[in-house]
């Protein structure tokens, strides 16, 4: 039996999609999904279908834009790319995550002596 995969926290998928697009430039849904899976080392439980809900959400907020184009192997696909507003949002969200993980690290790394206020 496989070890269980990580459930995605609410909102984390949107951030992943933004980061992927920021780094890779324009890409289609399948490409983004594959990329996230690869980067996470297949540790994340991602139904590839959920990526499309994330994409439409981001697009409605104006953080990404889309256009139909042709893929490497000459297939018609919808390509998404990050907008300027999206980059700003990404920066803000990434900063938030860093702070949060920092706090989580400290809390989880806490030892018995440090917990004692005295």
């Amino acid at each position: 039996m496989q070890p269980s995969k990580l459930d995605l926290l609410q909102g984390t998928l949107d951030l992943m999609v933004l980061q992927t697009l920021a780094v890779m430039g324009s890409n289609h849904g399948y490409g983004i999904a594959r990329r996230i899976e690869q980067i996470s080392g297949n540790e994340v439980l991602l139904n590839q279908g959920t990526i499309y809900a994330s994409l439409v959400r981001l697009e409605q907020r104006g953080w990404i834009s889309s256009a139909w184009g042709t893929s490497d192997n000459n297939r018609k696909a919808k390509f998404y790319s990050i907008t300027a507003a999206g980059r700003r949002q990404l920066a803000a969200d990434a900063h938030y995550w860093e702070r949060l993980t920092g706090v989580m690290d400290r809390v989880l790394g806490m030892s018995a002596d440090e917990a004692d206020p005295a």
């Binding site: 289609h28 399948y30 490409g31 590839q48 279908g49 499309y52 409605q60 907020r61 018609k76």
Partner: protein, 894 residues
């Protein structure tokens, strides 16, 4: 800003669903293809590649659903889905849908119609400018007719000047007879009804003419050229809506009268001030001409100054009252109104205040109908819900939440009640149209009843209310059920169904109870209506009819005029009396249940009258033969043509009056016949005592009457009354021809059966009785339907049980008996509860009853028996079906 853009995005997405879905499909298809290609490249077989690709997508449909959820407006999507589904379901069961919509349409339609009536009569202000400022100024009600409810022109002038509460005071002549105007266009004169008003009448009410102008003070001066204002209806009917009528003159009552204007269609004098009569024309009242000497003739209407309260106006009137004079010519008549001081009441209260209770009852009755309709619907839906419980359980198992299912059911209820409301509105429109044209019903403002914005709002309100009421119970019952149970529930004997049946029984019992209350109410109203109809009126309305006679009254006043009139009347009565079929004929100036007046209280000669008599006798000026024609019993002798002006002055008086006078005079055996009365300096010989006549109302107490002969007193018109052995209608032509022979100016006045006077007087009572009665019948029908539904359903459900019983030897009659007992048990509980509730609620209608106790045992028992009989009848059909169950078939089923 960004949320706005998001919302816009969602709304756009909602409306461009098709394009977006196509886009998404293409996108997902591309995704799948790419995934398959990658998988093949990794060395999987094409079939396996596809399978793995689909797994990693995690369900195409779920992906699409999430996408839609993220982009659009889910609530609306669900609503549309529910609507689509509901329509499909309702159309699949046309029988159920039709019955449900019809029941609701009846319930809602009745409610809208009654609301429109209540709204017009009670809630909406009168159709005048700032109607809340208008007051009716009259003495508190007294038992001496119109003469004690009106004031003289001098008192009017004084009141107008001395009162400080009013912007202005106006009034109208209260003693106009129907058909008092005769329009001569060449050919036979056309009868019409006109009312004299004080010239500021329309300015005060704030009514603007549709054409021309209203009256000015100049129109009412001595010697002013005669002018007239036409009602919209008469202008259309009689003058073919002539757009150039203003300024034209016509021969009215023998004088060239100029039309100065046409009143707007919304102004209906009769509807507000004289319910049940139509007024065709309005003429100005000359306050300083002859009317000055006619005594109490004007009713007053005032417009309060802004900010003046009713209490202040009352106080003001109390201060002014002692100063009022009956006629300035007689200084001793100042202070004549201490007994009848003017009291202002809101005009609206005067017009429709008396009807408040009746309308409240009517409103409660339709409310009960709506409740019964809802209960019925609840029952129908519950039966259906039981049949659909598996469907809902299945939907629950597939992931529908409880809220989602309740929502679906409520959508269905709303659609049903919406359809019911639309159909009900159509019904109400028809009903209200019909009501508005019931000119003969003596109810105020009836012609102004219409479906307006408020009524539409009310419709929406009760439609939603009904939907929630009848949809919620089945909805909660349904959605609250245990999935597991419902799926297992194989039908007969299962707990879920049993619980439903209990709910249904409770619903039916409450339905029967409501119907019982309605029936008791209607029964009480019907019983008191019958009592009213059997009242001894003091005259016999059957086979008698009256027609207004036009006669030449142009002789100089005094004896010459009396002699001329006597000669004309004598001739008329002789000719009419000889028409075959006419048994008796006589003339009176006023008829009972119509106009009246009082001339003071003659008292036994030589006895000092008390300061105040409880009542003043109403005066009628009649010819010999009138009593016989009316069918009024008479002791003593009738007037004769020999009771000439110079002979002894004679009168006839009513029993009640004679009894009162006998208390003061020592008449042997209290017999007034042959005794002398005196009033002022005149002596009056009582030649006859006649029955008390219901002169004002059928259901009220009788007052006193005194009759003067036309040969001595001056009548204010002539109503020819004939009594015939034939139906009076058949004589109409002959009588009119005879009158025309004698006087070519005789207009084609209406030949009115005396019965019509009575039915006009009781028309409001009949109107309410009929409405409540038909609502009760409707309630009974709905209750019967409810009982039938429940029993019939329970029989179907117990088919198997019945089969077993019959297989074990139960006879058909035994089975039938059991079902009937079940039915009657439900009905009996309902009737018992309903009767108890009626005992409490009957107080509400007590004041509407006549000579009937609100706890009239006969009515209660009769209604209970009727209800139980109907229940038995509606239970009998399912009982019959139950007894015909074929045991073998029943046991094999399921």
């Amino acid at each position: 800003m960004s949320w706005l853009r998001r919302l816009a995005g969602r709304v756009t997405a909602f409306f461009s669903k098709r394009a977006l879905d196509a886009d998404l499909n293409a996108e997902l298809a591309a995704h799948l293809e790419m995934a398959i290609e990658d998988n093949i490249a990794r060395g999987l077989s094409p079939g396996e590649a596809r399978r793995v690709a689909l797994i990693s997508i995690g369900g195409m449909e779920q992906a699409k659903d999430r996408h839609r959820e993220a982009r659009g407006i889910m609530t609306l999507d669900i609503l549309l889905q529910d609507l689509k589904y509901t329509f499909r379901i309702l159309l699949r069961e046309p029988g159920f849908t039709t019955v449900a919509v019809l029941i609701l349409a009846l319930g809602i339609g009745a409610n809208i119609a009654v609301f429109s009536v209540v709204n017009t009569l009670l809630l909406r202000p009168l159709p005048y400018r700032d109607a809340h400022e208008l007051v009716w100024i009259a003495p508190p009600p007294q038992k001496c007719g119109l003469s004690c409810a009106t004031y003289s022109t001098d008192a009017y002038d004084q009141f107008r000047v001395l009162s400080r509460s009013y912007q202005d005071v106006t009034g109208y002549f209260a003693f106009s007879n129907p058909d008092n105007l005769s329009l001569n266009l060449g050919g036979a004169p056309v009868p019409a009804t006109s009312i004299d008003v004080i010239h500021n009448f329309f300015q005060l009410l704030g009514v603007h003419p549709a054409m021309g102008r209203v009256f000015t003070a100049d129109d009412a001066r001595n010697g002013a050229a005669p002018v007239v204002l036409l009602s919209d209806a008469w202008w259309r009917r009689q003058f073919a809506a002539d757009p150039a009528i203003v300024g034209k003159a016509f021969d009215m009552n023998g004088r060239q009268t100029t039309v100065v204007g046409v009143l707007p269609p919304g102004f209906d004098f009769g509807a507000v001030f004289a319910p049940g009569t139509k007024v065709d024309a309005i003429t100005p009242l000359n306050l300083y001409g002859p009317p000055r000497d006619w005594g109490n003739i004007i009713t007053w209407i005032g417009r309060l100054k802004p900010g003046v309260t009713l209490a202040q106006a009352r106080e003001d009137a109390r201060m002014v009252a002692p100063k009022l004079c009956w006629n300035f010519k007689y200084p001793q008549s100042c202070g004549a109104y201490n007994d009848t001081p003017p009291v202002p009441v809101p005009l609206k209260d005067y017009v429709s205040g008396k009807l408040r209770r009746s309308l409240a009852v009517l409103w409660s009755a339709v409310g009960a109908i709506l409740l019964i309709a809802c209960v019925n619907l609840s029952n129908l839906l519950l039966a259906r819900a039981t049949a659909r419980s598996k469907e809902f359980a299945m939907r629950g198992a597939l992931g529908a939440t409880r809220g989602r299912i309740v929502r679906q059911l409520l959508t269905e209820s709303l659609i049903l009640s919406g359809a019911g409301a639309v159909l009900g509105l159509c019904l109400a429109v028809v009903l209200v149209k019909w009501l508005a044209h019931q000119g003969a019903i003596a109810l105020p403002l009836l012609s102004a009843v219409r479906i307006d914005g408020a009524a539409l709002g009310w419709t929406v309100l009760i439609a939603v209310f009904a939907a929630v009421l009848f949809g919620l119970i089945p909805g909660l019952r349904m959605a609250g059920g245990n999935l597991h149970e419902a799926l297992k529930d194989a039908g007969p004997g299962a707990s879920q169904s049993r619980k439903h049946e209990r709910t249904r029984a409770v619903l039916v019992v409450s339905e029967v109870a409501l119907a019982c209350m309605l029936l008791v109410g209607a029964g009480l109203l019907l019983r008191s209506f019958m009592r009213v109809l059997s009242v001894d009126l003091g005259f016999q309305p059957d086979r008698a009819a009256a027609i207004k006679v036009e006669y030449d009254d142009s002789a100089p006043t005094g004896d010459a005029s009396t002699q001329k009139r006597t000669a004309i009347f004598q001739q008329v009565l002789a000719r009419v009396g000889s028409i075959p079929g006419v048994e008796a004929a006589g003339i009176a100036d006023y008829l009972p249940l119509g106009q009246n007046r009082a001339w003071g209280t003659p008292f036994p000669k030589g006895i000092k009258p008390p300061d105040k008599t409880p009542v003043e006798p109403l005066v009628y000026v009649v010819t010999p033969g009138y009593m016989r024609a009316m069918g009024t019993r008479l002791r003593g002798r009738d007037f004769t043509w020999d009771d000439a002006p110079k002979a002894t002055n004679v009168v006839m008086i009513s029993e009640g009056y004679a009894r009162y006078l006998a208390q003061y005079a020592n008449w042997p055996e209290g017999n007034a016949v042959g005794k002398l009365l005196s009033v002022g300096k005149n002596d009056l010989l009582v030649v006859g005592v006649v029955d008390d006549v219901h002169e004002e109302t059928v259901d009220g107490e009788t007052g006193w009457q005194i009759y003067y002969p036309v040969t001595q007193a001056s009548p204010s018109g002539a109503q020819l009354v004939i009594r015939s052995s034939l139906p009076p209608g058949t004589l109409a032509g002959t009588v009119l021809r005879t009158l025309r022979d004698l006087n070519p100016k005789q207009p084609a006045a209406e030949f009115k059966p005396i019965k019509l006077l009575v039915s006009h007087a009781v028309s409001p009572r009949r109107f309410f009785m009929l409405l409540v009665g038909s609502f009760a019948t409707l309630g009974l029908l709905l209750a019967a339907l409810g009982i039938y539904g429940v029993i019939s359903y329970s029989v179907t459900r117990k088919t198997q049980e019945i089969g077993i019983r019959m297989a074990l030897g139960a006879s058909a009659s035994h089975v039938r008996h059991r079902v009937l007992v079940d039915t009657l048990r439900l009905a009996a509980i309902g009737v018992a509860l309903g009767a108890m509730a009626s005992v409490v609620a009957a107080r509400l209608i007590a004041s509407l009853l006549y000579a009937t106790s609100p706890w009239d045992a006969a009515t209660y028992i009769g209604m209970a028996v009727a209800l139980l009989a109907v229940a038995a009848l509606s239970g009998y059909i399912p009982a019959l079906r139950a007894s015909r169950v074929n045991p073998t078939v029943a046991l094999r089923a399921n």
